[in-house]
Each structure stands twice: as C-alpha cells, then as structure tokens.
Symmetry: none
Subunit: 459 residues, 2 copies
C-alpha cells in the first residue's frame, strides 16, 4: 500500500491533466437518442477504451446491436474483493440549444463549474474512477483490488445492449459489489450515499382522428379532435390529490418507514431555497407527503413531451389529424413496470374516446432499488467519502432511475453503491449542464480511498 | 319588365361569351398571397373594372394600402331595393403544381367542368352576377333595382383593405341586402342557401412551471409539471357530453328551432360517406345533436395546436419548464367572443394549479351570423334559385366563419344572402380546382331572376 501522501501528491500534480481529459471527452457529442450522432457515439467509446488501455488494463470495445460497450479489467487480487465500476459515455440531447449560455459541446469554465452536456451526467463522474485507478497504478504499481470497468453508450435510451451483455457475460462480470457515480450530493459540501432509487415506466401515446388535418370551422364539433382527446386522457392519469389513477398502481408500493421519514425530516433541506433555485412558485404534489418524500420515495406521473396541430406564429384554424405525448411514471421499490403498463393500457382502452385510434408504445421500464444501510460495503464507502470530502455522508434516496442497478442485482447478485459527486442543480438533462471542478477532484480523492477502504477494513 | 323568354333567350345566346370571358379572367394568375403576382393582381382588378364599365356602370378602381378594390354601381331605382354584390378576384396559390392535371392558369374543360385556379373560388361565381346584370341591361335597357358591386383582391389573405374601406365608405355602400356567391350547393343539383355561420374566439395559453427544464426523476412529484397542468386545464374545457364548461358559455346561444332541426334532418346527408371522405372512424360530439347540427349550429371547443417538452425521437426524461396550446371556440349567433374570453379567464384563473404561471392571449374573435328564414330577401332568393336551378334550394348553415359577413352586418346593417353555386368537391384551395359549367349557367340564370324576385314580389 502506498502512503496516502504519495496518492495525495499524485492527485494534486495531475489536476490539470484530469480536467483536460474530461474536456476532450465532453467535446464529443455522444447523443444516444439521435441516429445522427452515431459517429460521435463511436468516437466516445473509442476514447474511453483508449483511456483505459493507457492504464494497462485489458480493454475491449464490445460490439452490440446498438451502441458499443467498453469493458476493461485489472488483474484479480487474492483476498481482496472485485469491484465493478459502471458508467456511461452517452449523453442526453442538448436541445433547447438557444437556452445554453455556452455551446453544449464546447466545455467552458465559469465560477469553478465546468459547463457542457455530459459534464455531470455521466462523463465527469465516470472519469473520477478511471483517474483514481490511474493514481494507484502510477503510484503503487497496481490496484489494491480487482476493478472491472463497464461503460455503456445507451444509458439515456434504455441500456438495451448492456442488459443483453449482462445476460451473456455474467461470469466475466462477476463481482462483490458495484460502484456507480451518476447521482448527486445532498447539498454542496454535504456528500451522500444514495440507498434507494425510483424505477420508471416510460410511454408514448399517439392518437389519430381524421385521416388528414381538417378545417376546424367546417368540421369542428362533428368529429373527435385528437388533441382534445389527448388532453383528456393525460388529465385522467392523476387526480386532484396527485394520486395516479392507473388501476392497481399503488398495490405493490413499499411504504416509507418511520425511521426513513425521520431521517429525511432531519436533513437540512431548505424548501424555499429549493424552489428559488428551480424558479418554481410552490412545492406541490401528492397530498400527505413532504417534498423530499414526494421526490425520492413516492411514485409519480409526468408528461415529458406533448405535441399536435399548429405550433407556429399566429392562429391556424386546424382540427389536427394526430396528436401525441411522451410521459413516464416514476416507480418505487416493488412496483413492476409491466404491471403498470398493463393497468395503463386497461385505463386508456376504457377512456379513449370514439373516433380515435390509439397507439400506446411501451418505451422502457425498470423497477426501483433499495440497498441495506447496514451493508459493510456501504460502511466502507461512507469512510472513503468522509476522507475524500472531509465530511461524513448522509444517506438519501433519489427520485431518478438507474435501471441498471436493478439489473446488476438480478444478473450478478451484487448490490450497487451509488456515490454521487454531482449536485441537484447541475441541470443534468436541461440546458447549461455543469459539474463543479472542486467536486470532480473530491470525487477522484474519495474514489482513490474507496479502493483502500474496501480492502483494508474488514470488507 | 322584359318577358322571361327574352332574358332566357339572351342567356342561351351568350353562353359562349360568358365562358370565354371567364376563361380570360382565369388566365390571370391573381395570387394575393405572393408578392411576385402583384402585376397580375392589378391586371385582374383592371379586367373586372373594364367588364363592369362595359355595362355602363359607374366604376372605379379603389387604391388601398394593399391590393386594389373594384367598385361599380348602377343608378338607384325608386321603390326598389339596393343590393350590394360582393366577390373577390384574388385566388389561392396554385401549389402543389405537380398535382394539377392541366396547368392552373390554363382553363381546361373536362367532363363538363372547367378546371383552373379560381374557377369556383371566386371568379366563376362572381361573374354569374356580372353576367346577369348584362342580360338585364342589354335586354331591358336597365336593371330593375340598384346594384353595387364590391370586388376585392385580398379575400385569401384577410381582407384588411376591404375592412378599412367599409369603415370609410359606409354611406357609399349603403344597401338593403348583400349577395355573396362564394360557398357551395348542398350536393350536385341540390342548391342551398346558407343562412347561418359560426363565429370564433381563438386563444393561446402559455404555462410556465419551473424556470428551466428539470430532470423528471430527480424533481418529478415535487413541482407542478406545466404539460400535466396544460392537459388538465384543456380537459376541463369540455365535459363527457361534449358540453363546453366555460361559465356562461351557453347563456346567449340561440337554440336550434324545431323547424331548423326538421329541415336539417330532411337533408340527404350520408354520414357514412362523410366519415369515409375525412377518414374518421365515428361521428362524435355534443350529446343530443346530429352531425350536421354539431357542425353547423352548435358551439365547440377545438385544440388547434399543443406543444411542450421533448418531441424528438426516443424518450427524454424531462419535466418541461413550459407548455402551451392554441385553441378556439366556434360560436353560434348571439354568443359574444368577449364574454367567452371573460368566462374562460375566470375558469382558468380558478383551475390553474399552484406552481404554474399562466398567460392567456386573446388572438381574435368574431360573432356568428344568422339570417331569418322568414326574411323577404331570403324568400326572394329561394324563388330565384328554384327558377334558375329548377330545384328548390335547401336552407343550410356553415360551421366556418366568413368574417366579411359579420362586417357587412356591423358596418352596413345589412344581412347577407350566401348563394353558393359551387360544390364541396371543387377543391377550392387544392390542386385541380374546378367549377361545373352547368352550375355556372344555372347560377347566371338564378342571379338574373334574383334581381326580378327582389323587386317584383313585395320585397
């Protein structure tokens, strides 16, 4: 084992290299949802593979039916655990482009933050673990445990190829625990370990009325308008108390425990500051729950996109032929996305008005996840974070979904440590995504200690 | 008064001249929407003016800020009414050009129809009234009543200049009734008088929730999603029975009379063929009304456009910052668009959920129009049409709005007789626009008798 001081010195000496590397990767617009970026997806995969090969790891770019995976591993270390580090090199689409202060694929530093699409989600966070591996290898000559890196390019579009690979390569990927940094701290300077995630069930609804657009004067009132029908069907999903109306939706929900509710209530959550930050007038949602409970541990229904008819300037008196929406439910542990899909289809089949042909597309689904607070891996991670951030982490849940966490549990039998270095206001999926450079370096430091803690203290 | 036989003989003898004249006017591509045709617009105005001058009418080309108006009048006839004939010499753009069988500005006869842009809308229909005036003047030496012709060149682009002229020249345009032939028969060989039009109140609703797009996982459930709110607010506009829920919406609605309902029910309306033509599965709408009643004489609410969030390929887990819609109410006579706007604002202010800032924009409004079936002008027109077409007309209404009809009522205090010689499948705004030559000559004949009926039988 090297002295901590040698590792610390290495990290200090390589700050600039780490930042330059990250900017290089951020300049590649690896948008997985849009076929036009297929070449950039490939470039990003190759970049990550080259970066891992440079550390001497056995590295391969795994071809799939979709975007390539990157896999790399260091040699096994007898008596030490094997850790699978997961991340993703793909990013969300950057639109609306006109709301970005600096271009999304030209990384720019302002006030200590690095602005770029993918800065926090997940290129910046992913690189913390590659950089910490580099620090060990270049300081001590080797890692204190076996690391397996699994970096995918379809996280933002459902991880289909990764899921297939997990089925095929479960032996190759065998590990004791999985580490993922793709979440957020609780607050600036207050690191957190996320022990629960929400699942998701994402749908697209397409409605067709008349075969072509009609004049709303000559025909209005006599045929069903698909845009009106769409509004009615979406409105029927949630009642006035914020309760989802899909049949059976709450049947399998694991309720929050008193201990959890007490822990959440003890967190220094400033609701007013929260609202100010996102520029919202009021905290709203399901009746009977606090804002943190609603965001972390209660299921939801959100319309993610809606369209139909004339969207240009002025008025056009059109009765549109089609209208559609994308919408998704966030699920809590034990809710089954397939059951939600079945209930939704039942509801929509019942309420879809006459004169409308309905197409309901199940885009993707994943159940939620929950890790025991008492696991020794969880405790080791807490110690590493305390050393890296000089602050004890709090234990929180997260409203977002990382479906792959469920897959790791199901395919590899391994729990996942969600160690988030980001912040809530990083705008992960919106314009002006950012990542704090201070947290980038703290994350590298915490990761560096994590490999030690997972070996050194009885894990 | 000349013998009917003399007028009939004149019309028979001049069939070819009338057709040649029409073809001459149709060869002028007077497209009002496209500045490249400004010279042709001028040529068409001059052509119409020359045609009216040839009849000995006092004619002027009225210069405007836009395209010129043509105005002509015959001398007043004591004891006889004054009739204002309105029409337009401008036409819709001809594209898509490749879908025309013969070129749009080379009039071509096929199967008894004259194909050209403007054939039915409105050059062919307009000329029926100029030709009937010619028949009277050349047979009897004068018209039996005073005619005022008002022919504009901006009908297809909003009639801005005409509306200004109506304000300035109300005295000059004073009349007892207005005649417009710019609509359709009910069916081939079944002429119709359109005695009612719907009005309109058109709005745009813009909702803003959080100041920027948020991740729907991290934030979903804790703040109001403007796309969800939009669906709820739009859905609240109409109940399950198709009744508009704006407060006071039905207070001023003139209900259909039993006589009107009986007349509509007696029409040979083939609902199955109608649905097939527009490619809709079912006729739907306000409970308790037939399809024709719903389209012609009941108020509606149609979403004309809706937008918000992610509309691209694949799924994006965004909680959008904004969402919006354009929507409009078709109004029936006595409904006041301003009262509808006030009721709508009251409703939306009440139901707009917390956490949402609402902007409701009143785009434009116009009341509907209704001419009494018992008006002597209406009865005279019915008799004239029966003589011209050898078929009693039916009395119908139209779901669309013809704003100029409202303007004539408001500025001149005159009702409008909508005497349509066209057919529903004339492709007025599409490729292969046509006008039946049989209906052209029937229209001239009906118009010839109209001047007589408006004088001779107690009007």
């Amino acid at each position: 084992m090297p002295e901590s001081t040698a590792l610390e010195q290495y990290l200090t000496d390589h700050r600039q290299q780490f930042e330059d590397d990250l900017c290089e990767l951020l300049r590649i617009p690896s948008v997985s949802a849009d076929r036009n970026y297929a070449g950039d997806i490939r470039r990003a995969a190759d970049w990550v593979a080259a970066r891992l090969r440079r550390l001497g790891l056995a590295t391969q770019v795994v071809e799939t039916g979709g975007h390539p995976l990157v896999y790399a591993e260091s040699p096994p270390v007898p008596g030490a655990p094997t850790v699978l580090v997961y991340g993703h090199y793909d990013v969300q689409p950057a639109d609306p482009l006109d709301q970005w202060t600096s271009p999304p694929f030209e990384p720019t530093v302002r006030d200590g933050n690095l602005y770029a699409r993918g800065a926090t989600d997940d290129k910046g966070q992913l690189l913390t673990h590659i950089n910490s591996a580099q620090a060990w290898i270049e300081t001590a000559g080797r890692l204190p445990l076996q690391l397996k890196f699994l970096i995918e390019g379809e996280e933002e579009v459902g991880s289909e190829s990764l899921n297939k690979f997990l089925e095929q390569a479960a032996d190759q990927l065998a590990c004791d625990v999985v580490v993922v940094s793709d979440t957020a701290q609780f607050a600036p300077g207050q690191p957190a370990i996320t022990y629960g995630l929400r699942g998701i069930a994402y749908f697209e609804l397409r409605l067709t009325g008349p075969q072509h657009d009609l004049h709303s004067g000559t025909f209005g009132g006599g045929v069903t308008n698909p845009a009106n029908a769409l509004a009615r069907m979406l409105a029927a999903l949630v009642d006035d108390d914020g309760r989802v109306q899909v049949p059976g939706f709450y049947d399998d929900v694991v309720p929050l425990t008193d201990r959890e509710r007490a822990q959440f209530a003890a967190l220094a959550f400033d609701e007013r500051a929260f609202l100010q930050r996102i520029g919202a007038d009021a905290a709203t949602g399901e009746a009977g729950y606090t804002t943190l409970e609603r965001r972390w541990a209660r299921p939801t229904c959100d319309v993610n996109g809606i369209w139909g008819g004339y969207q240009g300037q002025g008025g056009k008196t059109v009765l549109p032929s089609t209208a559609g929406a994308k919408f998704s439910f966030r699920l809590v542990p034990r809710q089954d996305p397939r059951r939600v899909a079945a209930g939704l289809r039942e509801l929509f089949t019942r309420i879809c008005p006459p004169g409308i042909r309905m197409e309901l597309i199940e885009m993707h689904g994943a159940p939620g996840a929950l890790v025991s607070l008492d696991s020794p891996y969880m405790q080791a991670a807490a110690r590493a974070i305390e050393r890296g951030f000089e602050q004890k982490p709090v234990f929180i849940r997260e409203g977002g979904s990382i479906p792959i966490v469920t897959a790791f549990y199901e395919r590899l039998g391994a729990d996942t440590l969600l160690l988030g270095w980001g912040l809530d206001d990083d705008n992960a999926h919106g314009p002006n995504e950012k990542f704090s450079l201070t947290d980038f370096h703290r994350g590298i430091r915490a990761s560096t200690y994590l490999w030690q803690e997972l070996v050194g203290r009885g894990v």
